[in-house]
């Protein structure tokens, strides 16, 4: 039976932006290549299994469930690749989506903070904050049994994330202070040298 690609793309379009953001933030510990690899595998799996989706109203949660599972699988693959030189499998051929240039702004800081969370915590907070899923939906995506497990996970993760961000901010500002102090000292030295040369010339 031919796959209904048009319908799939039609349903994917309104969810695409959130899915791409979720995927990148989920792979915050890893490179943009790895995030694109997870996205590619997820979209291909979703396309292959699309015929089995009976209720298209559930497309969004179904897609995010696939992304989350592909991400978990990729983590296991990364783990084993450290010991066994596994075949990398299908080469990533999805068009380039994420920016490769490293920046040190707030976005980089939140990505670094997210990378310090566990995979489940990171997935839960991103599904709640970025994708806007309800507790019930996150429970289904993460394959948990009770709402309270998700509630406490979200609450704990927010506290943890806040703590990490505060620590990173204080380290960052400390670094800035040291840098500014060094620059001021350099300027003072240069000024002394210049005035000495100026006085000599005079």
């Amino acid at each position: 039976m031919p796959r209904d690609t048009n319908r799939f793309i039609e349903l994917l379009k309104p969810n695409y932006n959130d899915a791409v953001k979720y995927c990148r933030a989920l792979c915050s510990k890893r490179s943009a290549d790895d995030a694109e690899d997870v996205l590619q595998q997820s979209l291909l799996q979703a396309l292959e299994k699309f015929d089995s989706l009976n209720d298209t109203d559930k497309f969004r949660s179904w897609l995010f469930t696939i992304i989350t599972r592909v991400f978990y699988t990729s983590i296991k693959r990364y783990f084993w690749r450290r010991f066994i030189p596994l075949d990398k499998g299908e080469r990533t051929d999805i068009p380039e989506i994420y920016n490769r240039t490293e920046n040190f702004d707030s976005k980089a800081l939140i990505n670094k903070a997210l990378s310090k969370l566990s995979n489940k915590e990171r997935s839960a907070i991103l599904l709640f904050e970025i994708a806007g899923f309800s507790i019930e939906e996150i429970k289904n995506i993460q394959n948990e049994k009770s709402d309270s497990a998700i509630k406490s996970r979200l609450s704990r993760t927010r506290q943890k994330l806040k703590q990490i961000i505060l620590e990173m901010e204080s380290n960052h500002s400390g670094k800035l202070n040291i840098t500014s102090k060094n620059i001021i000292e350099d300027i003072e030295n240069e000024t002394i040298k210049l005035s000495a040369e100026y006085n000599k010339g005079k």
Binding site: P2, R3, T5, F8, I9, L12, K13, Y16, N17, V20, K21, R24, A25, L43, L44, L47, E48, D93, I94, P95, I97, S106, K107, L109, I110, N111, A113, L126, F128, E129, I130, I135, K151, S152, L154, S155, R158, L161, K162, I165, L166, E169
Partner: protein
């Protein structure tokens, strides 16, 4: 009142720097990359539709190629197992019996000649004189007869008053069989459907089936207690040479009980010099059943030899 810890409340109450940082991710926009991804998806969909079948075969081929050593090892192990199971072992098997009985000369052979199991062509008579006393010795070959049948024939002969002695000799033969066939030969299974069967009927059924399979010395007691649970007590004589390994499977409405009897030959010397307590512990350990009551392990000491009898009760 204790403040709620729900994520919604946290989101509302603490508009902290965390939310500001998260908003950086929220505000990212990748929609401009969608057309390229859409194009890529259409290409992949076309390829997926066309090469799905081909890919299956290629994957299978690759799987065999990648795991070929695993397949080789599996094949070697299976071949070794098959080889080990086919190794011939010699078993001593009873292929029939010979019954001899003696009668004084002049007594009529009509008393036994009409028994349906007496085949005249296989019956021979000889005269024997011992200490001046002459007797007719009748010898009957019974090929393919079982122990039960022969015992029945013996009872028939015992009814004849003129017969002075009866002797039964088994006809043994060494048979070579593969290991697996030997294992199956020395093991049998009994299935009894006890649904709507009374205790007496069940007891009779089990006893008959065990006897049909050559187990003679059985003491069986089946009782239903006030809770409606059937208790089956089966005592077997471990010294009985006819005892074989067997599995007794009883279906009783929704319950099924499996009782496995494995004949164990115990080296008598290992009990020598041991106290009753030590022997009981050895038996419990050997049968892997620490729940056996001490009273169910009978220790009989005769002429320096130690005999141990174990009664194991199974509840249904």
């Amino acid at each position: 009142m204790k403040p709620s810890n729900s994520p919604q409340n946290i989101t509302k109450e603490n508009k902290t720097s965390t939310d500001q940082y998260i908003s950086h991710i929220k505000n990212e926009d990748f929609t401009e990359t969608f057309p390229a991804v859409e194009k890529w998806l259409r290409e992949r969909s076309y390829r997926l539709n066309n090469i799905k079948e081909e890919r299956k075969i290629v994957r299978m081929k690759n799987y065999f190629l990648v795991h070929k050593m695993r397949f080789v090892y599996t094949f070697i192990i299976l071949a070794l197992l098959a080889g080990a199971c086919s190794l011939p072992v010699t078993q001593n098997e009873t292929i029939g019996h010979v019954i001899t009985w003696t009668m004084p000369p002049g007594t009529s052979s009509d008393q036994f000649i009409n028994f349906p199991w007496v085949d005249r062509s296989k019956l021979s008579v000889s005269e024997n004189t011992d200490n001046g006393k002459t007797e007719n010795i009748y010898t009957l070959m019974l090929p393919g007869s079982t122990d039960i049948e022969v015992q029945k024939y013996q009872k028939d002969l015992e009814k004849i008053h003129d017969i002075t002695s009866i002797k039964i000799f088994p006809l043994n033969e060494n048979v070579k069989r593969p290991v697996y066939a030997a294992a199956l030969h020395s093991f049998f299974r009994i299935n009894v459907n006890a649904t709507k069967m009374s205790d007496e009927e069940l007891s009779r059924q089990i006893e008959n089936q065990l006897k049909e399979n050559g187990i003679q010395n059985i003491s069986l007691d089946v009782k239903t207690d006030i809770d409606g649970r059937r208790k089956i007590k089966l005592n077997l004589d471990q010294n009985d040479k006819t005892l074989k390994n067997f599995e007794l499977r009883i279906d009783d409405e929704k319950n099924q009980e499996v009782l496995k009897e494995v004949k164990k030959t115990v080296d008598q010397d290992k009990f020598r010099g041991k106290s009753d307590e030590e022997i009981r512990n050895m038996v419990k350990e050997d049968l892997n059943n620490p729940d056996i009551k001490d009273k169910d392990i009978q220790i009989i000491r005769e002429n320096g030899e130690v005999k141990v009898k174990v009664n194991v009760e199974k509840e249904k």
